[in-house]
Symmetry: C2
Subunit: 342 residues, 2 copies
């Protein structure tokens, strides 16, 4: 019907009082008569008054919303992180604006711009696999807007981060393969631009070296994390004159793509080749055999990121010392690495 939403001025006029009084009534300020307060509250709910957050944010220079930018959310990993963050954020009175960059650097930049335009109070972000330039985050930080990275972080920037112990997780995973008798373990790694790739790769290498196994260049494949490429590279590995007897993948989608190729080729998992993933997606328990993988505390990642934001909001960024939280991972052993495992 009416184009115009109910404002405090409408309420004020109706009650023949000033907008200041209405404002005080709605916020439970002390300088207000109980009678008039009651009347205002009554009328407000009768008219279904909804405060205009735009106006409030404008005058307060504070929007009580934070932006969250994730590279993707078709896989349950990032949604879980978001839920964790949302849980603590909403308790603290903040809204969360979710942006999805679709693994595109340009969209990531556009997203941060849009969030900045909406004057969010902070940003929690995980970068795309393409992102090599971090000026857009630097700019936010320079403007005094707290940035917290999680999972896929930017090392150079002096901001708070929450990560999992990728090195430890990868090390455990590979050591597990070694102690169960594997000798030629391949690694499907991510792009060098992502630190998680580098750290997981390091864990892989160190585990091999600890057990005095050779690190062979042609068993290490760095790729861009697209599913199609995963398939191609796994085929390549299997066609090697001396193929690997185990495969450690940077994440579960990659591991699952690998398993499909392997099964398609008629090889047996884990007898002919063992597979281990990373992140314990629900799908890893569904596929047969079950995928051995490194579990991450997904909800806690989001919660911690939110806490790190709350720590620094409302204080001068100058006097805030960025922190890095490292969460622990856990190896989940299933049938893809040990025959007859659950």
């Amino acid at each position: 019907m009416k184009r115009h939403q109910v404002t405090i001025i409408d309420i004020a006029k109706e009650l023949n009082i000033s907008k200041s009084t209405v404002s005080r009534a709605l916020h439970g300020h002390q300088d207000i008569n109980e009678q008039t307060k009651k009347k205002v509250l009554e009328l407000a709910s009768r008219l279904d008054y909804q405060p205009n957050l735009l106006a409030t944010s404008l005058v307060m220079s504070k929007s009580y919303t934070v932006g969250m930018v994730v590279p993707e959310f078709l896989t349950p990993f990032f949604p879980s992180v978001i839920m964790g963050a949302q849980e603590v954020m909403s308790k603290a009175g903040y809204n969360v604006m979710i942006c999805q960059s679709n693994e595109s650097y340009e969209m990531e930049v556009a997203n941060t711009k849009a969030l900045l335009a909406s004057r969010v109070d902070g940003i929690l972000a995980s970068v795309t696999r393409e992102t090599r330039n971090f000026d857009h985050f630097q700019a936010l930080h320079r403007k005094g807007i707290p940035v917290v990275f999680f999972n896929r972080v930017c090392e150079e920037l002096e901001v708070s981060k929450v990560i999992v112990d990728d090195y430890e997780g990868a090390f455990m995973a590979v050591e597990h393969l070694i102690t169960t008798g594997r000798k030629r373990i391949a690694h499907l790694a991510g792009p060098d631009s992502l630190i998680i790739s580098r750290r997981r790769l390091k864990g892989y290498i160190d585990a091999l070296q600890k057990h005095i196994l050779p690190v062979e260049e042609d068993l290490i494949i760095q790729y861009d994390l697209t599913p199609e490429k995963a398939t191609i590279y796994v085929k390549h590995l299997l066609d090697l004159p001396n193929p690997p007897d185990a495969l450690f993948a940077i994440n579960d989608p990659t591991a699952i793509a690998a398993m499909l190729v392997i099964k398609d080729k008629g090889l047996r998992i884990p007898q002919d080749i063992a597979v281990v993933g990373f992140s314990n997606d629900p799908a890893s328990a569904l596929i047969e055999p079950g995928l051995t993988t490194v579990a991450q505390p997904v909800f806690d990642i989001g919660r911690e990121a939110a806490y790190l934001f709350l720590e620094q909001v409302d204080i001068d960024l100058e006097e805030y010392k960025p922190q890095t939280k490292v969460l622990q991972t856990k190896l989940i052993v299933r049938g893809s690495s040990i025959p007859h495992a659950v």
Copy 2:
């Protein structure tokens, strides 16, 4: 450093011109000298000026953002819909605010309130499994804010909707089971409050009746869509004195939960019991045997919802006639209904 973001007034002062002129320069209005325009644009980019959307939205009474509220996003269905909507929305110059109600009615109400407070220009929504009261959407509509439902819609409200042909999909699925020799087909249905439950149930019943099979009450189980309950009810069905030889589930997560129970009991799929799901989640292709399911055009659902919003935004809601788009489904046959199928 500085708390305060760059505004057009800062630019105006620096250039000794008025804010009006700056505004004109930034928006390419006609009443502007090329020289000054160039100077403004230069300084703006040098200072990394970002327009304050709060102020703009306030004065224009238009935020160029729409809210999207979905019951859940751990499963890829809703994220896919969101991506579809985002695609056409961003082309039209709109931002999308994503809210997730976590299948909680209260959160859904809170979400719509928050979106209203942010003065979104419209809302695309899919309701929770708990939602039986639609006053919060009614209120939006009454305030002149376009609402478009998708997937889980509210029938009573006179707003635009996009759904898939649930009836047809269910009918096809059940007919497929019948023509492949199944006689006692159970149905794990959703709560009566969701229309998709009712329509899929109707498809199930009509398919049975077309092929002159009895509709047995104890083979139809309506439940609240929680995974735990699914497990319990499937066990119950299998323990029946005369157990079913096929199971049609309202969605893939339910079907997959059922498959796990069935396999756990040592029964063979599809020899002992066939299973069919709905929505073709990626997981349905991963599990063994592959899950026969009804595919929905997920991205198109989002796209259509967005189109329906764009149709009615900027016009008087009085003169808009709500539409309902019905998208077609497709049966995907896999090994869970036919032995040795892909």
